[in-house]
C-alpha cells in the first residue's frame, strides 16, 4: 500500500502539470485561434453593428417592453435580459408567486388584444432569461396592437411576421419560431420607409404627428 502511494506521487504531479498545459491552455487557445480565424463573427457573439455601435446579437434576446415593438418573454435574468446574469425563474408548478406573475402578465396581454387566448410563451419566463425567440403564435398575437400603434396596415405587419418565421430543420428538428430582434429591426425599417413615404405626400402637420 505504502509502495503504491509513493510510486504514484511523481506521475500524479507531473501528469497534472502536463495535462493542465495541454487541456487547460493549449486546447482552448487553439480553438480560440481557429474559431477567430474561421468564424470571426460567431466567435465574438454574432453581434450586429449599426453606425459603429453594437445594437444586438442575433443569438441573444434583448428586452422589448415598449408596446410599439413585438414584446419578448418575461425574463428572470437579473432585472430582465441581463447578459451578465442568465437565469430562469425556478418557480415550481404550485408556486403562488408564479401564478400571480402569470395572472398579471395575462391581463397585460389581454388588454391589448381582448378575447383571445394568450400563447403560453408570452407569459412564461424562459430558461436562460435571454431567449431570443417567440413562437409564431405569440408574434401574430401582437400584430393588431403593433399595426394600431404604428399606423401600419395590419396585413403588412402580418406579412412581416410570416416572412420572419423560421421553420424546423427537416421538418422536425427545432420549433417554428421568430427571432424578436430581427423582426423588430425589420419593423423599424418599414416604419421608417412608411414615414418617409408619408412625409412626401402628407401635409406638414400630419407628418409631425407621425414623428412623435
Amino acid at each position: 500500500m505504502n509502495n503504491d502511494v509513493l510510486s504514484s506521487l511523481r506521475p500524479a504531479m507531473v501528469m497534472t502539470v502536463l495535462f493542465a498545459a495541454l487541456l487547460g491552455l493549449a486546447y482552448p487557445l487553439a480553438i480560440t485561434g481557429l474559431g477567430q480565424l474561421l468564424f470571426p463573427s460567431q466567435a465574438n457573439g454574432s453581434l450586429v453593428e449599426e453606425n459603429g455601435r453594437v445594437i444586438g446579437s442575433t443569438v441573444i434576446g434583448q428586452a422589448f417592453t415598449s408596446e410599439r415593438y413585438f414584446q419578448t418573454r418575461p425574463s428572470a435574468a437579473g432585472k430582465g435580459y441581463d447578459g451578465l446574469a442568465s437565469s430562469g425563474s425556478n418557480l415550481g408548478p404550485t408556486s403562488q408567486v408564479l401564478a400571480d406573475r402569470v395572472k398579471e402578465q395575462v391581463s397585460v396581454m389581454k388588454a391589448a388584444a381582448p378575447g383571445r387566448a394568450v400563447p403560453a410563451d408570452l407569459v412564461t419566463a424562459s430558461g436562460s432569461g435571454l431567449d431570443p425567440d417567440i413562437t409564431p403564435k405569440a408574434a401574430f398575437y401582437q400584430v393588431d396592437r403593433i399595426a394600431r400603434l404604428r399606423n401600419l396596415d395590419r396585413s403588412e405587419v402580418r406579412r412581416l411576421v410570416e416572412g420572419s418565421v423560421k421553420l424546423p430543420i427537416l421538418g422536425f428538428l427545432g420549433e417554428p419560431r421568430v427571432n424578436a430582434f430581427e423582426l423588430n429591426r425589420r419593423l423599424d425599417a418599414i416604419g421608417a420607409k412608411a414615414l418617409a413615404g408619408r412625409e412626401a405626400t402628407a401635409t406638414p402637420s400630419e407628418s409631425a404627428a407621425n414623428r412623435k
Binding site: L22, L23, Q36, F39, I55, A77, G92, A99, L130, D131
Partner: protein, 567 residues
C-alpha cells in the same frame, strides 16, 4: 405531444443505435492498447508524457495499485483547481476582475468537477474568470471523464481476463482515452459549436445598445472549447449560469441535438466495448436493451406531462404546454428529451429549468438519478454501475434456480456480491441521510426557493444529484452557503469514490478467477428474459428505496397541482 416531437425522439434513438458499434469499436481499440490512425498525431505526446512522469506503460497494476494511483491523481487535480480558484484575482485572463472564489465554494467546486458531477453553486458568468473556466474547470471535464472510462476498462478486464493478477494500467488507460478519443473529438465539436454561434474569445464581455435604447452587457469567453467536453464527458458544468438553456451555449436546434448525442455517445459505445471485451457482443446489446427500455419509458412520461402543461396556468388563461423555464427554439419535446438524457447519463447539463417542470415531469429526472445513473449513465460510470447491478441480478437468478451464479464466464461468489451491495447501498444511504439532515437544520431549511412539497423536492434533488454525480439542480435552491457547499461537496466525494473502490475490488477479484464455461444449467445472460430481470433489479434495488421520499416531494406536489392548491 406532436408528431414532430416523436420524430425527434425516434431520430435521436436511431442515430444513437447506429453510433453504438463504431464508437464501441474505437473504444475497444483503446481498451486493448492497439494503434489507431490518430497515433501518428498524438503518439509522440503520449510517449513524452510517460517519459516525463516516469510511467512504465507496460506495467500491469493490481486493483489496489490502480485504485491508489487513480485516487492520488484525482486528489492532485482537485488541489490544483482549489488553488487556482482561491488565487483567481491574482491570475491573468480575468477581464471582468472577479475576486477570489470563497473557501467553501472553491472546496465544493473542486470536488464537484473532480467527481464528474459539475454541480455548480455559482453563476459562471458572474464568478469565474476565463482562466478559471479553462485551466481550473476544463481539465477536470476531460480527466474525470477519462478516469471514468479507464475504470470501466478495468472492470471489463476483470471479466475478460483469466487467473490474472492485474487489471491494466491506470495511466495508459486514462492518457489514451484523453489523447485518442476525447481531445480530437472535442476539437471537431468545438469548431462546430463556434460555427453555430457559440462564442470563443478571450474577451470578457461586450456592451450592446439595444433597439429600445437601453444598455445590455453580454458575457463572453472561451465557451465553445468547454461546451464540447462538457457534453462529451457527461460533465455538465456550464460556462453560464443558465447552462445549455443559454443561447451562447446552445444556440440552435442542431447544436441541441449534437449536445444530446454527445452525452450518450461514449456511454452507449461502452456497452458494445464490453461485449467485445468478454467475447460476445450479445452481452453488450442485452445491457443496452435494458438501458434503452428504462430511458424510453422515462422520456414518454416527461414528454407527456410537459406537453399536457400546468392546469394552474391553464385556469389563468395561459394556453398550451408548460413553457415556464423553457426556450422557444427547443420547445416542449426537445426540452423534455434533454432532461431525461442528461439525468439518465450523469451529465447534468440542462437546456430547460427542471425546477419549473410539472411535478411528474420533474419526477423522472430525479428518479433517473436515484436509480444510480445506470441508464446509459456517465462515461464509464454508467456501465460499471450497471455491471454491479448485473452481478446482483445473476445472484438473484442463481438463488431462484439453486445454482452458483455465473456471469460472462466468471463465477459470482459471496465477495463480489458483498462488494456490489456495498457500492450500491452508498447511494440511498447518503441521499436520504443528508436530505433528512437538511430538513431538520435551519441552515438546510433556508435553502429552498419554493414552498410546500416542491421545496422538499429541491432539497432531495440536490443531494440526489450530488451523490449520483449528476450536477443538475432544481436550481431554486440557494446552495452557495457554507452548509450546502460543504454537505454537497462531501456527498459528491462519497458518491464517486465510495463506489469506485469496491468496484475496483470486484474487478481485481474477478480477474483472478478461472474461466467457467457456460453449461446447459447456466442462466443465459443475453435474451429478453435476462433484460427483463435486469430492469426489474434496477427498479427494485435502485428505485424502491426512494418511493417514500418521492411521495413526499413530487407526488404530493402533483396532487396539489391538479387540485389547484398553491404554496
Amino acid at each position: 405531444m406532436t408528431m414532430q416531437g416523436w420524430l425527434l425522439i425516434a431520430a435521436f434513438v436511431g442515430l444513437l443505435l447506429a453510433l453504438a458499434k463504431p464508437v464501441g469499436l474505437w473504444l475497444f481499440a483503446l481498451y486493448e492498447g492497439r494503434r489507431t490512425p490518430l497515433h501518428a498525431v498524438f503518439g509522440p505526446v503520449e510517449r513524452g508524457f510517460y517519459r516525463l512522469s516516469g510511467i512504465d506503460p507496460q506495467e500491469d497494476q493490481s486493483w489496489r495499485r490502480y485504485a491508489v494511483h487513480m485516487l492520488i491523481f484525482n486528489a492532485a487535480l482537485m488541489l490544483l483547481t482549489y488553488v487556482l480558484l482561491r488565487a483567481q484575482s491574482l491570475l491573468p485572463l480575468n477581464p471582468l476582475s472577479f475576486g477570489a472564489v470563497s473557501e467553501h465554494l472553491a472546496f465544493n467546486t473542486a470536488i464537484s468537477f473532480g467527481a464528474n458531477t459539475n454541480w455548480q453553486s455559482y453563476g459562471g458568468e458572474s464568478t469565474m474568470s476565463n482562466l478559471s473556466q479553462m485551466l481550473a474547470l476544463t481539465i477536470h471535464n476531460f480527466l474525470s471523464a477519462a478516469t471514468g472510462i479507464a475504470l470501466a476498462f478495468a472492470l471489463f478486464r476483470g471479466f475478460a481476463r483469466r487467473s490474472a493478477a492485474g487489471i491494466g494500467n491506470f495511466w495508459t488507460d486514462m492518457t489514451r482515452v484523453t489523447l485518442y478519443l476525447l481531445l480530437p473529438l472535442c476539437m471537431v465539436l468545438a469548431l462546430f459549436y463556434v460555427a453555430s454561434g457559440v462564442p470563443q474569445t478571450l474577451a470578457g464581455s461586450v456592451d450592446v445598445h439595444t433597439l429600445e435604447g437601453a444598455k445590455q452587457t453580454l458575457a463572453l469567453g472561451p465557451v465553445a472549447s468547454q461546451e464540447a467536453i462538457k457534453m462529451l464527458g457527461t460533465n455538465g458544468g456550464g460556462f453560464f449560469n443558465a447552462n445549455s438553456a443559454h443561447p451562447f451555449e446552445n444556440p440552435t436546434a442542431l447544436t441541441n441535438l449534437v449536445q444530446m448525442l454527445s452525452i450518450f455517445l461514449i456511454g452507449i459505445g461502452l456497452t458494445y466495448t464490453f461485449g467485445k471485451a468478454v467475447g460476445n457482443t450479445r452481452q453488450g446489446w442485452a445491457i443496452l436493451a435494458a438501458m434503452m427500455a428504462l430511458f424510453l419509458a422515462g422520456t414518454a412520461v416527461t414528454y407527456w406531462q410537459e406537453a399536457a402543461g400546468n392546469p394552474v396556468l391553464h385556469d389563468l388563461g395561459a394556453a398550451g404546454g408548460n413553457m415556464e423555464g423553457k426556450e422557444v427554439r427547443f420547445g416542449i419535446a426537445a426540452s423534455a428529451l434533454f432532461s431525461v438524457v442528461t439525468t439518465a447519463a450523469s451529465c447534468g447539463a440542462v437546456n430547460a429549468m427542471h425546477d419549473s417542470f410539472t411535478a411528474l415531469g420533474g419526477l423522472i429526472p430525479l428518479f433517473n438519478m436515484q436509480l444510480g445513473e445506470v441508464v446509459i449513465g456517465g462515461v464509464g460510470a454508467g456501465i460499471y454501475g450497471f455491471l454491479l447491478f448485473a452481478i446482483l441480478a445473476v445472484f438473484v437468478a442463481g438463488l431462484m434456480v439453486g445454482r452458483t451464479p455465473e456471469y460472462v464466464g466468471k463465477k459470482i461468489e459471496s465477495r463480489e456480491v458483498k462488494l456490489s451491495v456495498l457500492a450500491i447501498a452508498v447511494l440511498p444511504l447518503v441521499i436520504l441521510g443528508f436530505s433528512a439532515l437538511a430538513c431538520v437544520l435551519s441552515a438546510g431549511l433556508a435553502g429552498p426557493l419554493n414552498k410546500g412539497p416542491h421545496g422538499f423536492s429541491e432539497i432531495l434533488y440536490a443531494f440526489t444529484s450530488a451523490v449520483a454525480n449528476n450536477g443538475s439542480a432544481f436550481a431554486g435552491l440557494t446552495a452557495n452557503t457554507p452548509f450546502y457547499n460543504g454537505m454537497l461537496g462531501v456527498a459528491m466525494w462519497i458518491g464517486r469514490f465510495f463506489i469506485i473502490v469496491p468496484m475496483l475490488a470486484v474487478a481485481g477479484s474477478l480477474a483472478a478467477k478461472r474461466y467457467t464455461p457456460a453449461t446447459s444449467g447456466s442462466f443465459p445472460t443475453t435474451g429478453p428474459l435476462w433484460t427483463a430481470l435486469l430492469i426489474g433489479i434496477v427498479l427494485i434495488v435502485g428505485g424502491l428505496t426512494f418511493l417514500p421520499s418521492l411521495a413526499l416531494g413530487p407526488i404530493a406536489d402533483h396532487l396539489a397541482m391538479i387540485r389547484g392548491q398553491l404554496f
